[in-house]
Symmetry: D2
């Protein structure tokens, strides 16, 4: 059990940010944010990245699905709280790539996650290769991260 | 990226089962069960195991929290569908233990997960050690699995 | 404030039933089923009715949306619990109809709801009239209820 | 079927506001915000009102529960969207009061709701009377609304 990839718990490691806040509905009977609500925060960060980076533009009928998700929960989070989801690209494959993410309140990291994400044909329901423009886009985000360290 | 621990995708690996079904509300805009709904199925299996095994009996004020969760999503799942969540114990530590789980429809495995679960004092909000009875209980479940192979 | 339409809290008033159970994830920090989880139970009953009655068969590209939803919460519900959602048709209009529903555990009613549901063209995103077959189907369900009293 | 209490669809009717935004997870397979996600927005507004008005201060062990909820859904809402939940007090009873609310994006109203809310003893799980300070607080919020028209 670790804390995700190198630098995962440091805000300085992320260049893409999504503003969120804890909803009362994110709490479970233990009075803290449930792990599946953290899952929603991470999803919101990935969806925000895809939209703002224009990753899927020019590829109608193509979406993304999760193949693997792994998260470390580092501290309890309560309500109300303003949070920010940091998102970066950790690696790029043929038809998949890996998101690295962290949920922060201020400088403090409450959870980190890695998500293996597969490009997916919505008609055939099968994986499909990243095209050269998508690969360049993801590699540029990946490098910008490395340069930032 | 793997498929979880050995035997994780085989129903024969599990001795504790929780019946579930897909709700319409578990679907996302892609028309399939969202990964966070799978997270709810896995939670339902862990909660069912804890209740039916009486893991927390005799320890008032003690609950469990997730420290780490890792899942592989193997196939799309739609609505309606009857499913079953298989749950086993993969390892036992001092104040934590690891659940291994699978979501099945019939013999087919749609997702597997491992969850590092920490015994937790609900007043101090700090980890607390498993007592000898809890350790024996979890080890008995772990061995019953090994014997079943 | 009332208890819905006549007979709403009596299981004898319903002919269509959907089996459900409370999930741990349906609980909120007060330790009981949150009102929005009841909303999911009611939705599951409406979706089950639409599928099993074949209401939308022969009308591709047509779905249903909620125009109005009103629920009375009569008693707290906990976890675990097996429940059943009873569904009936209270009235039929030109492009809409009204569901009456109740959530029961055994004979006891925990919540009732009425849902004004509109037939909806998924391409134009506009209401569309019920066709004669749909009207007959809904009226038959409505009458079967009256006859049952 | 109506549009709630007088002025319910006008932003000018509300003095308490809660900022929200649509999450991807709020969407259902029809690609729009599900009615139960609207239910979460309304809940977030009520919880924000209770906290910011200090309605429950000085009354330990007392919470609120919903007895009745009625909503009109006026237009489809998509993702992403910034929204605001307006909240007012429509009436005050002995142990209950009625929230009136609207969900807005800009000036446009997407849904309105009325929620009969009961003061509730978390130990006995029974309704309990509003004390004089709570009554004054709620009546002041109710009057401030009337004055604003």
């Amino acid at each position: 059990m670790g804390r995700g990839a190198e630098g995962a718990t440091s805000p300085a490691s992320y260049r893409h940010w999504t503003a969120e806040h804890v909803r009362f509905a994110d709490l479970d009977p233990l009075g803290h944010v449930n792990n599946n609500a953290f899952g929603v925060y991470f999803e919101q960060g990935r969806v925000g990245f895809a939209r703002e980076s224009r990753l899927l533009e020019g590829r109608p009928g193509i979406g993304t699905v999760l193949a693997r998700f792994a998260a470390d929960y580092l501290a309890e989070l309560g309500h109300p709280a303003g949070i920010a989801v940091g998102t970066r690209i950790l690696s790029v494959g043929r038809s998949s790539f890996v998101f690295g993410q962290g949920v922060f309140a201020g400088e403090r990291c409450f959870a980190v996650a890695e998500s293996v994400t597969v490009l997916f044909d919505l008609a055939t329901r099968r994986p499909v290769a990243l095209d050269p423009a998508q690969r360049r886009l993801l590699e540029a985000w990946m490098e910008s991260f490395s340069g930032a360290r």
